[in-house]
Symmetry: C2
Subunit: 199 residues, 2 copies
């Protein structure tokens, strides 16, 4: 006799399809929501629906936004001659938190990864090249992750841009703040030595 | 400049209110749903709404159900003289999976835990006593967890029932299948010795 009511099963399945949530966590979340006195389940349900209804990708930089072009692309206070190329919308938020960068962004939505079947055409590379071709861009900062895929993607984008007058730069690699030289891996230490600066 | 659109923030907040999901996992889940091509967000939203609309607690045993009384309480094939008392609906499913138990259930919805501010009145103990008082019950199996709170709750319920003709039993404690005597804790080993049976 199967005693789990179908709506409960359905929610457990929906939760367990999310990354990092296994069947056990999915059950736990579901039973937590059944027990919870407040309207957490309805709030989560509404938030999910609102996400689908109101969030889109910016037609210029492909960051997530409620209005397109996004506030950053529309802003008069941003330096339109610099484009920072990132993998994900979360990377935009990370860079914005520094409050140091005043240029625009371009979100690739992934990295080139043949193992996962992701090629250059699955990313927003073509759109980036079109943005550069319209002129006015002086610098492209490649801010993909310092991983194998991130490096490969950066190299691919760099070769594709190759436009006179457009400088292509890459974020500095080196020791992270609070890091320990003793425990730094060889690649990080090599990059830190290569990128050393006069004090 | 805050670049996270409010609907995204709202979903991150709703996710991070769930147990075991911190702010970082909440962001990751949200951006996963933004990126996902399929209708996962809508499916999850609908499943949550359906849960709230269709799931209720059985008026007899307080297990989760779509109809009340639940299929187990309504079934003619179950032994109505035995009630197994558990903490959570998940425990009912665990016992049902054994296919060994043919009696009814009673879900307390928690354990007595003064540290968390949960007293006997927050559990469905009174309703259990009323069920016993209506007669026909021969055995109450206390199947709360073998934890400090579970043991205390079992003892409390046992004292409260105290009805002539009603046997109160507790699930056996001992070594789990596949367990290793060498690594068993003292309490488990003590219980296993106390509960030893003739072969």
């Amino acid at each position: 006799m199967d005693t789990i009511p179908p709506p409960v099963l359905r929610l457990i399945e929906a939760f367990s399809r999310l990354p990092g949530i296994g069947p056990k966590s999915a059950s736990r979340l579901t039973y937590y929501l059944i027990r919870s006195q407040s309207d957490e389940a309805i709030e989560l349900s509404d938030a999910l629906k609102e996400l689908r209804d109101r969030i889109q990708f910016c037609s210029v930089c492909f960051n997530i936004t409620e209005i397109s072009p996004c506030p950053i692309c529309q802003s008069d206070e941003r330096d339109r001659s610099v484009i920072c190329v990132v993998e994900e919308p979360l990377d935009v938020m990370a860079i914005e938190r520094t409050r140091e960068y005043r240029g625009l962004y371009h979100v690739l939505h992934g990295v080139i990864s043949p193992m996962d079947g992701v090629g250059p055409d699955d990313l927003r590379v073509r759109e980036l090249i079109e943005r550069v071709a319209t002129g006015g861009v002086k610098e492209i900062i490649l801010a993909t992750n310092p991983s194998l895929e991130g490096e490969n993607t950066a190299m691919y984008v760099q070769r594709k841009i190759n436009t006179p007058g457009v400088k292509v730069t890459r974020l500095a690699r080196g020791l992270p703040m609070g890091g320990d030289l003793e425990y730094a891996d060889e690649v990080t230490l090599t990059r830190a030595l290569e990128g050393r600066r006069e004090m």
